[in-house]
Amino acid sequence: MKAFVNENPGSIDEAVMLAQAALREGRSVSFAGGGTDLLQLVKERVPNRPGSGVPDVLVNLKRVAGIDQVTRNDQGGLTIGGLTSLTDLGANPQLRDRYAVLAEAADSVATRQIRNAGTLAGNVCQRPWCWYYRNGFDCYKAGGNQCFSIAGENQLHAIFGGGPSFIVHPSDLAPALVALDARFRVAGPGGDRSLSSNDFFVLPNEDVAHENVLGDDELLVSAVIPEPSGEIRSHFYKIMDRETWTHAVVSAAVVLEMDGEICRTARIVLGGVAPIPWRVPAAERLLADQRVTPELADSVGIASIEGARPLAKNAYKVPLTRRVVERAVLAAAARA
């Protein structure tokens, strides 16, 4: 393990200041939530922040109070602190009741031990699990200038939105949050800002080294889920290579706004298929003002793979995505 300085700030402001100070001194910084993945990267000396390498300073957020729970906000929606554990998210009755997609996504992450320590912000901001990046290849994600998967082993890589990097976004919460149209509160040197979760993630053709808009001295403080205008039915469906402790081969977060048995609007966001949580608007549109039937779900599945561009070894993800979407839509609609 590389030696590092461990800072334990008591507030978000202090955390940002410590990060800024370290960056000014030319030291690399990472914010640590649960640390379940970050410490692994540090142990393996995989560069966490592209360009600045393995962190010299860890700003450990565990003493920052007040951002580790789910609260109802003034607008009737939910504010979820960035340090809320995945276990707490999965068990939260308000989420289970009204935003099942998020609770199910949290429950699907890794293992119980990791969910106990892992946080919402950490899950959303984790670095890719591409085996090239994780094995020390000097790829785009490590600050280098190529993607080794293109001519290599790309079984688990992107079929949408790839290029020049073909990683898939590893977070299970991210598709659920985008499907719920969450807003993210980000703290940084310029104070707080709020942005749509949809705008938080960036494709490699915009910024190849990063998966989101956060600067090195910025952190995700909380997610705000808006009050839906009607009844919502949602579901998170995740395909894994074994029953637990892997990332999604393909996942689908489906949120249907219902009016009786008629779906008014739908949001379908895929995981495991693109460098960001991947919305499939053509598939969403098919559901607008429709009764959800098996035939419609089949069409929605087919629409969801329009424009897929598989690499040499991941063509299986295309039919798989179709079926995952079909089943996730049916399961969401079947929710009482």
Binding site: M1, W131, N135, E243, P319, L320, R323
Partner: protein, 716 residues
């Protein structure tokens, strides 16, 4: 023969060391601390094939806390383990003539993960930091990853004289065997089938990252290391270090799993010994999890071409296999592929070429030559039975080997295992006569496989001492690698001595304090060392009968080194596995929904661990069938899926309920008729699962592992 009820043997006996293991009191190698001890870490090659032009250790040496940096330039110690337990490389005569000697560090590196240097420092963090300061100038060479590619004429040379493994006479001859004449057999056949099956490299993935702690007392090396055989480990290390056996003491009290390739020494034993010798203090070499994955061994991958001749009635007339085994760059073990002797067919031919590549080194993994062989052979035969329109169970019963006048067995139960398993599993109800039939998307299928595995007898030793307090101390050179050898040895002694288990103490895992043992591989600890325990106990009983119990400070001691034989009979354990799988054709997802095993392993000495051994082995076999692989990037020769996460090992949630039944017999050989258990369960699990997948989807999956991409690939 039915088994008679006994006192201790046959009861469910918890492990004698369970309490210290679960309370954390058991000291594994890495827990040990000695005064003044230093910690060492190993630097490994980051390229698959290169010559080291220059290696600069000055910056590492200058790091405060670093005590020594060693490389191929400072130490030229041959590393030749593996000669005793089955591999052919570097037996004493071979070591003198071989053209392919491996050293502790090699200037010519041949795989990613090969050790190139080691650092000893005041703690593990400084040692690891120093590794990053060692500069190596590699002259990179072309590399080759696949056995078939390695045999192309213009293939990169892993060794300058070719990529075929050499035998003990330095000749690139294939291994294998033949019986009868396959051409005659094919001529007799009504139909001949040919196909190719492949299996992937799978890591043993035992839990304890390996470590070795060495210190010297004068010219004597004391080595603590997680080994499956203190005697072999001592001999291997002594030979490599130019010492007599008595100058090396090997100690292994607790270890986190064996699974096959530890019945011998490792290069990190030599690194610990060399650093400790140079520095005059104890040195602990620690492997990281990733080191432990890439710097050790796993099952050799294979490419197997089969040709099978069959008569119209389903009788097999000839079986031919031509195969390649990928050994990595060094021949650690045999590369053999087993299984064909399960059939009565008189005309057989196995020709196997162990091939060198620039992947990590292959070695022994639980039934080293079997699961890959049985997967291919019994997938092939399963396929043949369908093509002939014969139920696979019927096909099996028609063709399996049976005792003959020329080749008697000590006892035989293969047909019984198959028949009883078929009934317990409800083969007739679960098997689809039309594979792949049904609407889907979720389809069920059933598969069968059957095997036998050696339960041979052989030489080993035991000593038992009794004092005037009637404490019996048993000395055996075993290490407890998982199956519970300490408990088995103790309960055998208690049974024969006619005393409660609590009166027996055991001394184990120490080459100075214990007599010779064959080591915990080949599932032979019980049949060989266990038999010696029974013999020693008998001798002690005789002494007590003659002299009475010892009084005062006196003790009685009995020792035994029996070398029993089976009078020319084959001694085998038998087994049949029945798997049911559910395949979701839309998702390519396979789930094992039912798994029934019937094994005949002689008398079961301790049902508790025996059943666990079968279950654990089946799970490893299912992992090999459905998940595990070590993917390499073809452009860079670098492994990508090392580790528990990457290899997708089975988790508890993936494990089906495994219903095991033992058919108990006493063939009159071995300790009370006990046979081998530890390896039996893994042998046919991949074949049973693969055959069930075929029965479910109607597509024969010929390449392990049977992953989602392959299933969706054939279905869409």
């Amino acid at each position: 023969m039915a088994v008679e009820r006994m006192n201790t043997v046959g009861q469910n006996v918890p492990r004698v060391d369970a309490l210290e293991r679960v309370t954390g009191r058991a000291e594994y190698t890495r827990d040990l601390k000695l005064p003044g001890m230093l910690y060492a870490r190993v630097l490994r090659s980051t390229v698959p094939h290169a010559r080291i032009r220059r290696i600069d250790t000055s910056a590492a040496e200058a790091l405060p806390g670093v005590r020594a940096v060693i490389t191929h330039e400072t130490h030229r110690i041959p590393y030749g383990s593996g000669s005793i337990a089955g591999g052919r490389q570097y037996s004493d005569p071979h070591k003198d003539i071989t053209t392919r000697l491996r050293y502790m560090f090699n200037a010519h590196v041949r795989f990613v993960g090969e050790p190139v240097a080691a650092v000893a420092a005041v703690n593990r963090h400084v040692a690891e930091e120093a590794l990053g300061l060692i500069e190596i100038d590699y002259e990179e060479l072309a590399f080759v990853l696949e056995p078939e590619d390695a045999l192309e004429e213009d293939a990169p040379r892993v060794w300058s004289d070719g990529n075929l493994a050499l035998d003990s006479e330095n000749l690139p001859r294939p291994i294998g065997s033949s019986t009868g004449d396959v051409d005659t057999g094919f001529a007799e056949a009504d139909r001949v089938f040919e196909d190719r099956y492949t299996t992937a490299f799978v890591q043993d993935a035992q839990m304890e990252p390996r470590s070795a702690l060495a210190h010297w007392e004068g010219d004597k090396l004391i080595l603590h290391t997680p080994t499956q055989g203190v005697s072999n480990c001592r001999h291997d290390n002594a030979r490599d270090l130019g010492l007599a056996d008595h100058q090396v003491q090997v100690v292994c009290q607790y270890m986190g799993g064996g699974f096959g390739d530890k019945n011998g020494s490792y290069y990190f034993d030599l690194i610990a010994a060399a650093l400790s010798k140079d520095l005059g203090v104890p040195v602990m070499v620690e492997l990281s999890r990733k080191d432990d994955w890439l710097g050790t061994h796993g099952r050799w991958p294979t490419v197997q071409d089969y040709k099978v001749g069959v008569k119209e009635d389903g009788t097999i007339t000839a079986i031919q296999m031509h195969a390649l085994s990928g050994m990595g760059p060094y021949l650690r073990r045999s590369g053999n592929i087993a299984g064909m002797d399960i059939y009565a067919c008189e005309n057989t031919e196995r020709v196997i070429r162990p091939v060198h590549t620039n992947r990590m080194v292959s070695g022994n993994f639980r039934a080293p030559t079997y699961p890959q062989g049985y997967f291919a052979l019994q997938s092939m035969m399963d396929d043949v039975s369908y093509r002939m329109g014969i139920d696979p169970v019927e096909f099996a019963l028609k063709n399996i080997v049976r005792p003959t006048a020329e080749q008697p067995f000590t006892n035989y139960a293969l047909d019984q295992c198959i028949e009883q398993g078929a009934e317990l599993f409800d083969w007739a109800g679960r098997w689809n006569p039309q594979p792949g039939a049904g609407e889907g998307p979720v389809k069920r299928g059933a598969g069968v496989a059957y095997m036998m595995f050696n339960a041979r007898l052989g030489a080993s030793s035991a000593i038992i001492r009794v004092d005037s307090d009637a404490r019996y101390t048993l000395y055996v050179g075993v290490t407890d690698i998982g199956p519970g050898a300490k408990t088995t040895m103790s309960l055998l002694a208690a049974e024969e001595l006619g005393v409660p288990l609590a009166q027996v103490d055991i001394v184990w895992g120490d080459s100075d304090r214990c007599p010779f043992s064959v080591g915990e591989s080949g599932s032979r600890t019980t049949t060989m060392t266990g038999y010696a325990v029974v013999e020693a106990a008998r001798d002690l009983n005789r002494q007590i009968a003659e002299n009475g119990m010892p009084e005062g400070d006196d003790v009685l001691i009995a020792s035994a080194t029996p070398n029993p034989s089976t009078d020319g009979k084959l001694r085998m354990g038998f087994g049949a596995h029945f798997a049911e799988v559910e395949v979701d054709e839309h998702l390519g997802h396979v789930r094992v929904t039912k798994y029934v095993t019937v094994h005949e392993s002689g008398r079961i000495l301790n049902p508790l661990p025996a059943n666990d051994q079968i279950r654990g082995a089946v799970l490893q076999g299912i992992g090999q069938a459905l998940h595990e692989d070590l993917l390499y990037d073809a452009n860079y020769g670098h492994p990508l899926t090392a580790g528990y996460y990457g290899a997708r090992h089975l988790t508890h949630l993936d494990a089906p309920e495994i219903e095991n039944t033992f058919i108990e017999t006493d063939d009159g050989y071995g300790p009370y008729g006990a046979k081998s258990v530890g390896e039996s369960g893994i042998i046919i699990a991949p074949a049973a699962v693969a055959n069930a997948v075929f029965n479910a989807i109607g597509h024969r999956m010929k390449d392990l592992p049977i992953t989602r991409d392959k299933i969706l690939g054939v279905l869409t």
